[in-house]
Amino acid sequence: MSTTEQYTPIQDTGVGKKAAGPVGWLDDRLGLAGVAKKNLRKVFPEHWSFMLGEIALWSFVVLLLTGVFLTFWFQPSMTEVEYHGSYLPFNGLEMSQAYKSTLDISFDIRGGLLIRQIHHWAAALFIAAMIAHMLRVFFTGAYRKPREINWLIGVGLFSLGLVEGFAGYSLPDDLLSGTGLRFVDGLIRSIPLVGSYLEFFIFGGEFPGDEIIPRLYMAHILLIPAILLGLIGAHMLLLVYHKHTQWPGPGRTEQNVVGYPMLPVYAAKAGGFFFVVFGFTALMGALLQINPVWVYGPYNPSEVTAGSQPDWYMGFSEGLVRLMPGWESTFFNYTWSWNVFIPGVGGLTGLFVILGAWPFIEQWITGDKRDHHLLQRPRNAPVRTALGVAGMTAYGVAWAAGGNDIIATKFHMDIYTLTNIFRVGFFVFPIIAFMVTKRICIGLQRADANRILHGYETGVIERSPDGGFSERHAPLPASQQYTLTAHDRVPVLEAPAETDENGVAAPHSRKEKVRAKLQALYYRDTLDKPTTEDVQHAEEHLGEIDGHPVELGDEFQGVSETGVPRVH
């Protein structure tokens, strides 16, 4: 720094002097200064991917704000009324109070349609952002000890988010939301033995009844948001307690956090980001139509419209049901609807069970019980990354299958062919994705090792006396070498002991064998980082002329950011 920064203590500024009185009054009574002093200076590391969860948080705030507005006019009642609002094609049409009030919000309440659309876009974004955030946490290994519980809370938030979104989707009581409700009714009924009882319990009788909308409304505006809020609070408290994970780099260890303080940096950044998110949802709400309830018409169980789809986040569930062959069997006078139960109920629970169990499964396989505060680059955990991409592929296939009718009509394809491709693809594509991803990871690891040992490409092309061209490599700055080698070495795998110290067959030896096998699979092909000796050895050779006519002298200062040699 050429200039010296001059700071005036806040209590000596004009504002500070004026505020000192009231702030002191508050502090005397609440004693917040101690807490605030510590927490307002809390340090968070900086990276764009750490803001994905923030998108979810801010969309949730937008949802609360817009949702409050909507409750002023929405009437959660299934009472039949005659419509006489501004939307003329429905003039005199019999419909439920819920649907009528939704139409009123859309056509007769000032700003109603805008707020409704912002609410819907924010909901779609909320869940999308949660998934993006979850993928970031997954692929960087941020869920490892001590953050497993926070991961579980996140999975809980994700699953509740789906339920909350679905409840909201069902409230307007238009043809689309009723069809979605019917789908869930089918899922509930497909549960063996208790399904039909559960259905009657939830719907207060035969589907659709006249209870479900008031019940869903209560869940949508009170029960689930309250749980969501509580979980978000716990999620963030744990974030503060654990401190945020950070990318490895010089000066960054498992014991510290390098970044900027909450105040003023993150208060400004996060506050600003809230307005960015609000702005995005407002722009989308203003410019892009979402869920035009008036084109669907009121719900009538005997009607359905082509292109009936759930909101995107339930698309994978819809797709799994579309993929499943129509298997059904009858035992003990009960119909067992495998065709709906396996993909519908099984698919949803399967997703959340796998997500929730993964940190513990990984921990059991690797046997790694240490605390981790430094993130892993996805390439340095090739099997995890590949498994993640395989999971995303399976999810993607199911998701695409949920829109198979739209794909079929828009791309002039046969819907049955598509379904069959997706059926096979659901099992085959993830395997291909696994292999490809793992190879890419290992390739990237090799590239890293290459950079560490052979330096980076300077862009300086040299011609040897016999006419050959080669590119000059220059040693990587030590800081970058450090960053690239900050991760753990691949552990030395040991075969589990067959016998204990007394020579008796060890208990759990079979379990240990399975674990050892999985561990070997988990680390298989993973490239270990170069050792210090490797680096020193390579450095000696890097200076050699060996095909380079010009020696890489001391005057060579590397290349600038734009690739121009500084001195050469």
Binding site: S2, T3, E46, W48, S49, F50, M51, E54, I55, L88, P89, G92, L93, F107, L113, H120, W121, A124, L125, A128, A129, A132, L175, Y260, K269, F273, V276, V277, F280, M284, G285, A286, L287, L288, Q289, I290, N291, P292, V295, G297, N300, E303, V304, T305, A306, G307, S308, Q309, W312, G315, G403, N404, D405, I406, A408, T409, M413, D414, I415, T417
Partner: protein
């Protein structure tokens, strides 16, 4: 009530009454000209006498047109579905090959072979005659009978085997009415006994109303529903916000960027 009775009785009479070619003035010359056109453009598949050509396996090379009526010809030829460009799961609509005059002549010829549904009367395709209540009723019938395949704004939908319910955007009222009477391709027949001509007109009036009204709420996804919304969410929403977060993340709290 009386009016309703009259309408129903009138509709019923219209439905049951034999419909010779008097709906449109057709002369013997038209029939003759239509036959000539038929022999050139259609007979290779439908047979010289329009009785269809059977394949060795017992399928139709081209189906018999005896009794399909003028409405069917007017629809198939008028929307360009016939003549078929190639064998496909379904004949797509395209620019018509025949002029209106030629289409009329072809219709006259086929109608002269055997009685069949006539081209609907102009009175029943004039959607301007439908009032608000008619449109509402048309909407109810549309949702009960049509949306399952054609989608709630008539954007179309998928069917097995590469077949599809086509979009009914930009299709003329006459052709929609003809499709309902004749049930082309995968479509069931909605005869005038099942849905009266007035109701048909109301259905068409509703569809046109829904398709022509402004896209309240902004840029629509072509009536394709939540699939498009999901695409917008990820591409515009998450995509845009990630760009924003990269921007925020790239601007550290450094007082000065360079030393």
């Amino acid at each position: 009530m009386l009016l309703l009775g009259l309408v129903i009785a009138g509709g019923a009479y219209y439905a049951f009454a034999p419909k010779p070619a008097e709906a449109q003035e057709v002369t013997a010359n038209d029939v003759e000209a239509g036959r000539d056109l038929f022999l050139i453009g259609c007979a290779s598949c439908h047979g010289k006498n329009a009785t269809g050509i059977e394949t060795e396996r017992g399928n139709n090379y081209g189906p018999s047109l005896i009794g399909v009526g003028a409405a069917s010809v007017d629809f198939q030829v008028g929307t360009g579905r016939m003549p078929l460009a190639q064998t496909a799961p379904q004949a797509p609509s395209k620019n018509p090959e025949y002029t209106e005059e030629e289409t009329r002549q072809l219709s006259a010829y086929i109608a002269s072979l055997a009685p069949g549904p006539a081209i609907p009367d102009g009175e029943y395709t004039d959607i301007d005659k439908a009032n608000v209540d008619d449109i509402r009723e048309g909407g109810e019938l549309f949702r009960a009978n049509c949306t399952a395949c054609h989608n709630s704004v008539g954007a179309g939908g998928a069917m097995p085997g590469g077949k599809y319910a086509p979009s009914i955007k930009g299709v003329s009222a006459k052709h929609i009415a003809e499709a309902m009477i004749t049930g082309p391709q995968q479509m069931p027949v909605f005869s005038d006994d099942v849905i009266t001509p007035e109701d048909k007109r109301n259905i068409i009036a509703y569809v046109k109303q829904v398709q022509d009204q402004p896209n309240y709420g902004g840029l629509g996804g072509g009536g394709l529903g939540p699939v498009v919304d999901g695409m917008f969410t990820w591409i515009i929403g998450i995509g845009g916000l990630i760009i924003a977060s990269i921007w925020i993340g790239a601007h550290g709290a450094r007082v000065k960027k360079k030393s």
